[in-house]
Every structure is written in structure tokens, then in C-alpha cells.
Symmetry: C5
Subunit: 301 residues, 5 copies
């Protein structure tokens, strides 16, 4: 995630980090050159057929409809991903609170919280392919970490270990029915968030939209120069460049936000969020807490 103050007035055109310009530069350049070619041929070689700019207006309206829809849908996915991880932080803190209320300090509390941390790191690996062996080992020990990673569904395995422990605690009388029920309810929040994240990861926006949007954008930029012959004069290449910037820029932005868990500048900062959880657990257990992760070159990982 890019963490950066909104640029001052004079900087707004200079920033490249976090901008989509580098990635769509080929498209902008092609659109500009194509517009220039159409203009020069029309003026100096042979008259090209002209299209009324009003036609592009009708077409542009439909394109705006697509881009607007895709933009909203992609942003909603990104924001839902952030909400799910925020809820996981809240549930972890509430779990620590409830352990404190129903079991008190001790080995059980530490076992549960450490395994929940392992769950989050393993879930992060599942979502983004991060290597997390070291992170997991730090909280549950190298041996358990190995065992968890060998499982078919490692984050699930961590939760199963917690469930077994809760049963053991109940059977050993270290927790009463109230606590067993409260902790079981809280524990159910984690598979729910996990399933939500898996949904966002495995189910992108319907493929057919991507096709429609990209095709319509290409067609629009290909047709535009013929419409600008009458209406923009020598500004034609500039207008074509600006329009290409706006439409391809939006298509590119939404493509990135659509996949909130990919390892890219605008992705959700999963490592930083796992660290927030580690700090919460350390506070709950009275251990020294590691520092928050800070953005590197304006990017929080």
C-alpha cells in the first residue's frame, strides 16, 4: 500500500511512484502517435473520413459506464479485503480479552494466541505466496511450524490445534461452559474471514468484463483521432494522449485494485497487518513487542 501525503500543487505531475503512468506509457504513446499520423495524413496527404465528435460522446458514455462499474467493483473488493483484515485484528484482540476474562493468565492463553498468530502468517502465505516459516516458528516453535506447513491446509491446521486445546481445557476443568462457548464463538470468526479472503483471491471480476472494457477502450482510442480532426485541430495529439491517459489509467488502476492480495504497490499490506497482530499478542501476554513496520520508499508491505 502506498502511504504518501497528497502531493503539493507543483509536484502533482512529477510523481512516478504509485502512478500508473509507467505501465500504460506504451498505450499513451501509441494513441498519441496514431492521432498524429491521422492528423498529418489528413492535412498533407489525403482527406481522411471525419467522424463527428458527438459520435464519440455517445460511445464515451458507454465506456464511462463500463469503467465506472468496474472501478466501483474493484474498489469494493479492495476495501472489503482491508475490512476483513481489520476485522481479524479486532477478533484477535477480542480473543485475547476473552481469554483474560474466562481462563486468566497462563499456558493456555499463550498457546491459543501463538497459534492464532501462526494462523495469520500461514493465511498470508496462502493468499500471497509469502515464505512464512520463520515467522511461524518464532511463535509456535520450529517443530510445530514444520508440522503445520506439511498439512494440506496449514492455516486450518493451526485453528484445529486451537480447537483441540479448547476441548482439552474444558475436559481438564480449566475453563467452564461459558468460556468454552465464548471462545468457540470467537474462534469461528477466523474461518469466516479466511473464506472471505479466499473468495476475493479465487473469484476475480467476471472475465467477460475485462474483455469488454479493454476492447472498448482500444476501439475508442482508435476511432478518436478521426473525430478530433474537426474539433481539436493541432491539439489533436495532446487530446488523444490525455484521453488515453484517463481511460487506460482507470482500466489499469482497477485491474490492480481488483486483486488486493497480489504483491504490488497498491495491495493490502499483509505483512504490516500481521505485525500489528503480533504486537497485540505481545501486549496481551506481557511480552516485549516488536516495532510496527514502516513504509519503505512510500510502500508499506
Amino acid at each position: 500500500m502506498i502511504v504518501r501525503d497528497t502531493p503539493r500543487r507543483r509536484d502533482v505531475f512529477l510523481i512516478l511512484k504509485g502512478s500508473v503512468v509507467p505501465r500504460i506509457l506504451p498505450n499513451i504513446a501509441a494513441a498519441t502517435l496514431w492521432a498524429l499520423a491521422v492528423l498529418l495524413i489528413d492535412r498533407y496527404l489525403i482527406a481522411m473520413p471525419h467522424v463527428s465528435i458527438a459520435v464519440m460522446g455517445v460511445f464515451g458514455l458507454s465506456l464511462s459506464l463500463f469503467l465506472g462499474f468496474r472501478n466501483n467493483a474493484a474498489y469494493d473488493r479492495w476495501w472489503e479485503a482491508r475490512k476483513l483484515w481489520g476485522k481479524m485484528v479486532a477478533d484477535l484482540r477480542s480473543l485475547a480479552q476473552e481469554l483474560r476474562i474466562f481462563t486468566g493468565k497462563g499456558a493456555d492463553e499463550a498457546f491459543v494466541l501463538d497459534h492464532i498468530l501462526a494462523f495469520h502468517h500461514l493465511h498470508r502465505a496462502q493468499l500471497r505466496g509469502d515464505r512464512v516459516e520463520e515467522d511461524v516458528s518464532r511463535w509456535v516453535g520450529a517443530e510445530t511450524a514444520q508440522a503445520l506447513l506439511r498439512d494440506g491446509n496449514p492455516p486450518d491446521a493451526a485453528l484445529r490445534a486451537v480447537a483441540d486445546r479448547l476441548r482439552e481445557m474444558a475436559e481438564g476443568g480449566r475453563i467452564d461452559g461459558w468460556g468454552q462457548r465464548a471462545l468457540a464463538e470467537r474462534l469461528a470468526c477466523f474461518p469466516a474471514a479466511q473464506a472471505g479472503n479466499e473468495r476475493l483471491m479465487t473469484t476475480p471480476l467476471p472475465f467477460v468484463y475485462s474483455l469488454l472494457v479493454w476492447r472498448a477502450t482500444y476501439l475508442y482510442c482508435g476511432l478518436l483521432p478521426f473525430a478530433l480532426l474537426d474539433s481539436a485541430g493541432w491539439f489533436e495529439p495532446l487530446v488523444a494522449a490525455v484521453v488515453a491517459y484517463v481511460f487506460f489509467g482507470l482500466a489499469e488502476v482497477t485491474h490492480e485494485l481488483e486483486h488486493p492480495f497480489r504483491d504490488q504497490p497498491n495491495g493490502i499490506p499483509l505483512r504490516a497487518m500481521c505485525r500489528v497482530m503480533e504486537i497485540a499478542v505481545c501486549h496481551a501476554l506481557g511480552r516485549p513487542a516488536p516495532p510496527r513496520l514502516e513504509p519503505v520508499d512510500h510502500v508499506l508491505d
Copy 2:
């Protein structure tokens, strides 16, 4: 569901799988030929009445309004269907967790989880007409599968069997009040999701919208060539083709997303999701898990 990376630049016009072009080709062809005919008659036979392109702009705005609304509503239905199935995965995992906490390992746990799998396969049959006898038999045995399928509401019958078992467990003292209540609460999630899916299946978008959208699209494409005579020149057939592609394409896409459970390329991959649940149950019960279903020719079923 189509699982495919967004196409590289040069491929974007070549992809047919997942595109709506094949299905709306007749409409595009008709619109193009109609535009060509109007243009040729106007130029070489008799002057046709011209319509200002601004009129089409006013009309196009209304059409965009319809298409935009229908698009949002259809996508919301599709996404809600996916959310409901994702929630069912989460509830299944939470149920496994709660069985582990409140009953421990044993025949009860296996009975409940196997019947929940049967419920999901039977519910899939209800939604999409899949033949599921084999899938159901694998988990609850051929005899029970037959009995369930003979019931008036097979998925409901599977849940009734689980409810009876929970009562039996409580009466036999194999579960206490806490567990009985926790499992009963979790079990109530499945009829809720089932009712949601039934709602999406039986209640399409109001029929009157479909009529309005298709009629308005036809009228628009029929009138457009007269507006392009002045404003598009020899580009007229191309513009007509592009506009037909955009408007009919969007109408077609929304028609497909509106019915998320139909057996079509952009449908929700119910078989793959049932497999995800089977894997979760196998992990919970310590059985060897079947592999995830993979997309065949970019389509996940």
C-alpha cells in the same frame, strides 16, 4: 467460472472463450448491414431522412441508465451467490471446529460432517440440476443417498438427519447444553444460505426490465444509422458495429450474470466449491483429501 489472466495487449481482440461476441454476432452483423444499407441508399438512391446525432445522445443516455442499472443489479446477484457459497464453506469449517470443541473425535463428528456434505451436493442438484447420486453416496453410503434423493426436499432431509442426531447426542449425554446450543446455531446457517440461493434462482430481475432493455437496444440500433449519415461518413458501418457490440454485449453479459447458478461459462463453480468443502471435511476427520478441481480449458465448473 472463467479463470484466466487478463489478456496481453495483442491478444485482447483474439480471445473467444469467455467472450460474448459469438452469441451476439447475429445482432452485430445485422446492425452493421442495416447501417451499410442506409448509407448506400442515402448516397446512391434516394436521400433518407437524417436524424441529428444529438438526438441519439439523449436516447443513449436513457439506454445507459437502463444498462447501467441492470448491470449493477445482475453483478450484485452473481456476487451475492458467490458470497453465499463462500459463507457455506466458512460455516462448514466452523461446524467442524465446534464439533471438535464440543464433542471431540468420533462417530458423531463424522456423521454430522458427512451429512452436511450430502446437503451441499443435494443443494447443488436443486440449484443446477446436476446428477449427484454418486457424490452423495461417497459420503453417506448408497442406501442413505437413495433415501435422501427420494425425499420431497432432499437437502432439507439431510439437515433433518443431522438435527435428529444432535438430539440423540444430547439425550445420550454425548454433548452438553453448551454444545447443543452452539451446534444448533451453526446448523441454522445452512437453511439461511439455502433460502438465499433459492431466492436468487427463483426470482430473476423483474421481467419488465428485460423487455425495456432489449426493446430500447433494438430501437436504438435501428435508429442510429440515420443519425450517423451526417456525423460518421464512411465510418458508419464500423461505428454501428462497435455500438452494437457494446450495447448488445452488455445486455448479454448481464443476462448471464443474472442467473449465477445456470450451467454456463460465467456461472458460479458449484462443483469446485463442493470439492473445497469435501477437502475441508477430510482434513477435519483426518482422511486423505481429494485434489482441488482445476479449470478445464479456462473454465472452472
Copy 3:
């Protein structure tokens, strides 16, 4: 609710059932004749003042804003009504499940479920004015049905009878605290859904919107012919008819969806949904189930 496959290409203009055309035909006819009159007077009698079509574009944008908003709001109301009834189906099934878990088979189960069916029929009468005495009698007997119908708030009376029964069951030891609490929680879902439905029934969209939309639509269609003089030529009456169809059609559709419980083709099929509940209860109690209601002439009641 109209249940019908989206029409084939050639049928799209022929369907009348479920179309709003019959109801707005006077408006379409008036708009067409008015446009024709303006055109003929301008051509053959005296020059009328012309209005630029761009003025209509500005005006049309505002009108689209109104119609778009009203359309979204009306559809949301319709969809919320359908969701509430779908939730009532789910809650009824969950209630049957919980009775099975906490009380087992017997007279208590039948009493509660039958009275919940009575509640739904009585609630339907409250929403849509249906005569339901016969339907209620079938489940709770003629005498109780009479008593319920004499009450100030009949659906509420049915729920009060269930609540009294739950207390009796608890006092008689036929249900423990867990069950009493679980069933009381479930029972609270029905007044919540009832209040939601009452809200949709008694609180339409603010009246001032209806006025604004209808007035603006009339003004727009009245002014349009003067703008079409320059821009549509002899197509003027056709364009006026199409625009009237689109705008009055949308205004009429939203008016219908705004009142989801009225007895009209696009209303929520309350009788069919009550039947779904009856079937669920029959399955739960092991009684023979009546058949689902089928659409008559494409209309499900």
C-alpha cells in the same frame, strides 16, 4: 411475479404480458400526436419557435438523474421485500430444525409450526388484503382461526399463542433453558421481518419525488417536439414515441416495483411463498406435502 424466459429475438416486440406498454399507451400516443402536430404546423402553417436539441440534453440529464434514482430506490424496495420473505422461509426451516433438536417430535412441535404458518397467512392478509380464513383454518382449525382473525392484530396473536406455548413447555419441563432460549431467539425473527414488511407497505418513496418525476417527464415530452424540428426531420413522431416509451415506461415500472406487496403482475408472489412454507412444515412433521404453486399465464401469485 412474472416468470418467463427472456424472449427470443423476434418476440421481443410482441410480448404484452408483463410489459408496461398497455398502461402507458395513452401517454405514448399523446406524445406522438403532439410531435406530429408541431411538425405539421411548422412545415405547412406557421414557423414554430425552435429549441436546440442540446437544451433537451441538459434537461434530459436531470431527468435521467431523477429516473435513475427512483429506479434504484424502487428496485431496492422490491428486492428487500423478496429478501424479507426469503428470510422468513429460512427462519421457519431453522425453527423446525431447532424444535427437532430441543423438543423432539410431538404435539408441541406441531402446535408451534402450525401457528407459524397461520402467522404467515395472516401477515399476507395484512399486507395484501388476501382472504386467508380457509388457509389459516387448514393448519390451526376453524375455531382458532376465527379467534385469531377477531384479534386487533391477527398475525401478532398467532405469535403470542406460540410464546404462551413455549412458556408452558418450559414450565412443564418439556424443554430446558437452552431450548427455551434458542426458540425464543428464533421467534424474535418473525416480528422483525413483519416490521420490515410493514415499513415497505406503509412508507412509500417520498411523495415529492413522484411529483417531480412525473412533472419533469411531462414537461420534457411537451418540449421535445420543438427540439426535434431541426434535428429529426420526418422521424420526429417516431423519436417522440420512443422517448415517451422509455421515460414513461421507466416511471411506470418504478411505480409498480415501489409497492412490492400490491396485487399486480410484478408483485412479490406471497401466496406461492406461503405454500413453500407449508411444504417445509409438512416435510418437518412428516405429513404429505401439497404441490408448489405454478405460474398461471406466466404470473406467479
Copy 4:
């Protein structure tokens, strides 16, 4: 709230009750006269600078953006207010149900329900400044009513009395743990709804939007006549009047819906809703119920 059937065709321009026309008449008149003045000066005195109507289109698009946003936000506030009051009705009915299940008939039930009615009347006074002493006295007696009204937060005081009673009932053994918990959970719904209503009352839409919208509307209507010189001819004053009606009308409507609890025609009918609750309590307690409040001159208070 205005309760009125959508007008018949010929009445649509005649209705004043519930229309915003009276309040924005000065604005419409000013816009019309200004347009007339510009037109007359341009025709008969000196040529005024002309502005292209397309410029107004660009400007109008932005204005539509503002008005559309403000309209959605204001309607959401109004609808949320109605939903919160609807939920309070449902919670009151559920509370009556739960009292019936967990405590049975008697003085405790009446005490709790009467005080909840007092809470709602007092909350209404808090939201809308109604004088409610008489209404409160009718349910809890004049003495208690006086005491409640003397409190710093009268509705809260009524809930505190209920909470104290619940504790007393538990200590006196007149309610067990299950009931205490169920009733405490239900009781927590009322402060939640109260806080929601307070939010809507104390936090209007950000002030800066109101400024932007009004200013932009004034500028638009001031500039419009210069754009209509070329494009509307002698229709200019009429077009200016219609545009002023649409834009100022929408601004005015959203201003009213933004404050759903003010005492105005489109406000939420708090008195009628409190009466609905009174009727529900009377039914629950077997008392004779007062009649529903009916609209007076189409306005429900």
C-alpha cells in the same frame, strides 16, 4: 409524512400539498424574469455575449453529480431513520414476546412495557421537541413521568428504570438466568437505535456540500439565459423556469429529507409510530388498544 396516491394524469400539475413549488417559487420566478430580461435586452437593446449551450452541458454534468450525490445521501438518511424506528417497533414486539416466554403475565411485564413506551415518547421529544408529558403520564403515571422528565437524559432514565427492575426480578427469583440474559440483550437494542437517531439528528450532511450545491445552482441559473439566446429562442423564459424548477426543486427536496426528524411534511411520522407501539403493548397486555393515527389532509404526523 405525506400519504397520498400518485396523482392521476390530469392532476399532476395541480397538487400543491407535498410539492416543493411553493417554497422555491421565488427562485423560479427570479430565474424566469432574469431569462426574459436577458432575452429582451439582447433582441431590442444591445447584443449580449452568447455562451454555447454545450458549455452549460459540461457545467450541468458537474451540477448533476452534486445533486445526485446529495439526493442519494439525503434519501439514505431519511430511509435509515425510518428503518431505525421500524426496528424499534420490532424490538418492542419481540420484548413483549420474550417477557411472555420468560416471565409470564403479571406486574413485571406491564412495568417493563410501560416504561419502554415512556422511553419512546421521551426519545421522540428529544428528537423533535414534542411535548410528551401527557403521553408519558398515560403509561407510567404522572409522578414517574415528572421524575423522568426532570432527569438529564429522560429516555435513558426510563431504560435505567427497566434495568433496575430486571435486576430486582432476578434477585427476587421471578426470572432465571436465561430470561435475564435474553431480556438484557433485547434491552440493548434501544440505546443502539437511540444512538442511531441522535447521529442522524446531530450530524447533517457536511456543510460544505450545501454551500457547493446552492452556489453551483445559482451560478448555473444565472449563466443559463446567455446560453439559451441561441438555442431556445422565445422558449427561453420557459426553459429557464423548467430548469430552475428541476434544480432548485431537487436541492430543496434533499434539504428536507436530510433532516428526517424535523416537524415538516416529509418528516418521519414519529407520533404515528409511537401509537403503533402503544397498540402493540396494549395487545400484549390484553388492554383495549387506541386507534391508529390517520393522515390529516394527507399528512401523517
Copy 5:
């Protein structure tokens, strides 16, 4: 938050407090001067290339798309922040209610409520950097306040103290299982709201949108004067100023609402909301309540 009645007609252009005009005055001035320069050069020096206003219409549509999206997203953030704080007020009142029901009056009640107040002040410090030592000391004493502020996560430390107290109360028999569970559930609401607020604080809208919006606005205003040469005549500088006001104004407003917790006129009034909670606690404990905070110069802090 600015608390102010919507201005009367004649005042609407005079208000500066709460307006964004002062902050975007440089942009408006620059746009106006640039338009004037282009106009004068074109008229008196050399002909500038003209751009059709229709081109700006196409461009303006995309810009509206961006601004509309950003506006909705920013307002949703602001409103969600307000909702979260409103929910915290409700949860505090419900907690007071539940303490009253399950523990009765006494030291435990005061301890819990005072620490929850400390939590809210400390959370406010976390969100907005306020100095809260004095406010915290007033409720939990100077010593405890110092200890809390020294913690790595002060608001969390306040909640941990409450959790410890609940355990102590349960072990000392001063609260039974029902109460322990009810209070633990309520206590879990505060970390949830805290995590929601942290999300809004640490995760702004994706940076790439800010770039796109500002860049597109600058490009639009830079290009506009060439389009106004033909279409606005001597109104050109005025139109340019109005357009700059509308577009930069909206960009600036959304920038402010995007950060609801910053110390700015349109921010959420955290101090006033903490005071509302203090008053609620004082009422619950029977202490004299401090007065509500009132707006100073129309700004509520």
C-alpha cells in the same frame, strides 16, 4: 464538524467559514487568468488553436466519473467514522445497562465505566494526537492515567484492566456466568470499533486515485480556455472560474472528508463525542454530569 443552518438566499455567496473557497482560491485565480490570457492573445495577438467544446464534454464525463467515485468513497469513509463513534456511544450505554442488570450498583460498576471512558479518551489521542492526560486522570486518577499512557497501546491497556476486573468479579462471586458472558460480549465491541477507526485512519483512498483526479483536473482546466474561445466569448474567464471552482472544490472537499479524524473543520467532533459518553456515565453512576460541548464559531470540536 461545522454546525450551521443552511444559509439564507442572500448569504449563500458570502459565507467563508466552512467553505473551501479560501483553500482553492489560488487554483481558481490561476484558471481565470489563464483563460483571460488565452482569450486576449487569441483576439489581439495571434489566433490560438481552437478546440471544440464537445471534446471537453467527453473529457468532462471521465472527470465526473473520477470525482463522483472519489466523492462517494470519501463521504462513505466520513460517515462510517461517524457511525463507529455513534456505535461506541450506544455500546457504552448498553454496557452501563448490563452492569446495572448483572452486577448492580457499586465499585465494580464505577471501575468498569471509568476505564471505558479512559479507553475512549486514549483512543481519541491515538486517532487525532490530542493530549488527553488530564481527561483520563479525571476518571481513573492521575496514577492510573500515567500507567496507561506509558503502555505501548494505551487504549488497549484500559480494556485489559477492565477484562482483569471482570475475571476478578467472577472469581469473587460478584457476578455469575450470565453476567460474565454478557459483559464479555459487550466488551468485545470496543476493540471492533477501535479496529474500524484504525482502518479509516491508516488506510486512505488508494494513492493512485488522488494522482489521477488531481492530474485530470489540472489538464482539464488547462485545456478548457481553448474550447471556450468559440463557445463562451467574453464570458470565458467567468466560465473558467466557475468550472475551476466546481472541480477543484469537489477535489478539495473529498480530500478533507477522506480523513475524518484529522483536526479540521469538517472532521468528526471527537471531543464532543467523548463528552457525550462522559455524560452518559455520570447519569448511570448518579454523578453530576458536565455540560455538552457547544460549537465555537460554528465549529464543534
